[in-house]
């Protein structure tokens, strides 16, 4: 069998995974599933660790069964929102430039660094108010002191 967007493994094994698939009524997985859906004869639900299920439509589980699938929507909210906050602060305070100067043991002048602007009185737009946007609403006030940054929420 050849699938376009996922791997089919060709090793043989006496591992009990197949037997466990046959017995399972609920499977929790990141995306590991049997190619032969007969192994899922008792399965009533498949839950994915991932937030999305982008690649599942390519799979036999999707095409050949009606097993309900659930995902872990929201699982990436904290990480991505924190990463965005970090990137904005890093960019805003020219951290990458300062690190380059630090590596060179160079005490930069004001002209070399340029002006910085803090977040006091700034307004942040959160476009899309899903799991990441909602988490951002919690993170940004913490990152810049309460009431200094106005959060503008734009709900889709």
């Amino acid at each position: 069998m050849v699938f376009t967007h996922y791997h089919l493994f060709d090793i043989t094994s006496t591992h009990s995974l197949k037997e466990d698939f046959l017995e399972a009524t609920i499977i929790v997985t990141l995306g590991t599933l049997p190619g032969n859906v007969k192994l899922l004869k008792n399965v009533k639900l498949i839950h994915l660790f991932s937030a999305g299920a982008d690649r599942l439509p390519e799979t036999p589980v999707w095409k050949e069964t009606n097993i309900p699938l659930t995902n872990s929507s929201g699982v990436h909210g904290p990480q991505i929102a924190e990463w965005v906050a970090m990137q904005i602060l890093t960019q805003n305070h020219k951290q990458k430039l300062l690190l380059e100067f630090q590596k060179k043991h160079h005490w930069a002048t004001h002209d070399e660094i340029g002006w910085l602007k803090d977040w006091v009185g700034q307004r942040l737009g959160v476009l899309g108010y899903g799991a990441i946007g909602r988490q951002g609403r919690l993170i940004f006030p913490l990152a810049c002191s309460h009431n200094l940054l106005r959060i503008l929420e734009m709900v889709r």
Binding site: F3, H5, Y6, H7, L8, F9, D10, I11, T12, S13, T14, H15, L17, K18, D20, F21, E23, A24, T25, I26, I27, V28, T29, L30, G31, T32, L33, P34, G35, N36, N42, F49, D54, R55, L56, T59
Partner: protein, 64 residues
């Protein structure tokens, strides 16, 4: 009064990272009417083309 005992569930958890047995045991305690089996699948080895522990006929979606 009918039989209120729900049917026994068999949960199979396929992990891509090792998880402390305490976590699995905690789930088992919360759900005494289930059997919980779990496997650690070394997806890093799989996608790096190295020997791995997934048997023939089982596929795994690659990381995005």
């Amino acid at each position: 009064m009918g039989d209120a005992t729900p049917p026994k569930e068999h949960i199979l958890i396929l992990l891509s990272l090792p998880v402390s047995p305490e976590i699995i045991n905690g789930i088992k305690k919360k759900h005494p009417n289930t059997t919980i089996k779990y496997h650690f699948l070394d997806l890093k080895a799989i996608f790096a083309g190295l020997p791995h522990n997934i048997p023939d006929g089982i596929y795994s979606l690659p990381p995005i």
